[in-house]
């Protein structure tokens, strides 16, 4: 089922922003809708099209459901997508 693209169908994903990215986007968390079959790259484009979003890099580090993921990762409805600024723990 999830492999089959239904024309016009949409998924909803939750996007999370931390540290400097949170300051740029002005939000901790945004729910966005994407066409079914959308990739992480599409999610980044959608966020960068919003006010303040263009301050984000074009190819930020990303996580899907708490695991790092590459930008060609296909998203599913309900995924948690985190925009990960360069990390600085310790």
């Amino acid at each position: 089922m999830s492999d089959e693209v239904v024309p016009g169908a949409v998924i909803q994903v939750k996007t999370l922003f931390f540290a400097a990215y949170r300051d740029m986007v002005g939000a901790e968390e945004l729910d966005i809708q994407l066409p079914q079959g959308a990739t992480l790259r599409d999610a980044v484009r959608a966020i960068r099209a919003r006010p303040g979003g263009d301050a984000l890099p074009e190819d930020p580090a990303l996580a899907v459901n708490r695991e790092y993921a590459s930008s060609n990762r296909v998203l599913e409805n309900g995924d948690e997508v985190a925009f990960i600024p360069p990390v600085a723990g310790g």
Binding site: A61, P85, V87, G90
Partner: protein
């Protein structure tokens, strides 16, 4: 294995107690603390932010990988989040091991991987009131998905 993100002060002694067994000849404890200076600027404190659920998972994953690569016993890692003052412990890593060589190597690998892979950030607060998110490491995405 004990990996935690915490908003309360870290007690390094508790970590030492957690990891040591009678099999172990060596225990190595690394603690990172907030310095009063950085890159020539006077610092009053650091504010740590984390993607907490992912950070805890990532710490466990790193601990498991380091455990499998080196002959070590128990490992404990705690990283603090929130507002820290100069001198506060931000991270503590305890590694017990039958032999010291493995403890040193494992401890060093744990802190290096923590700094490069775990989604934690810090904002430096200066004496003049300025604040800034510190530059960090871009984590590597997996090659395939």
């Amino acid at each position: 294995m004990y990996c935690r993100i915490t908003s309360t002060p870290i007690d390094p002694v508790e970590l030492l107690r957690r990891v040591r067994t009678n099999e172990d000849g060596a225990v190595l404890l690394f603690t990172g603390a907030v310095r009063n200076h950085d890159a020539g600027r006077a610092v009053v404190g650091l504010t740590y932010d984390a993607y907490e659920a992912m950070a805890a998972n990532k710490l466990e994953e790193i601990c498991e990988e380091v455990s499998s690569r080196f002959e070590v016993g128990e490992i404990a890692i705690v990283h603090r989040v929130g507002e820290l003052a100069v001198g506060d412990v931000s991270v503590a890593i305890a590694v017990a091991s039958p032999h010291r060589d493995a403890a040193y190597k494992a401890s060093r690998e744990l802190i290096e991987r923590l700094k490069r892979e775990v989604p934690i950030w810090k904002r430096e607060r200066y004496t003049n009131g300025d604040e800034t998110w510190l530059e960090g490491f871009s984590p590597q995405a997996p090659k395939t998905d």
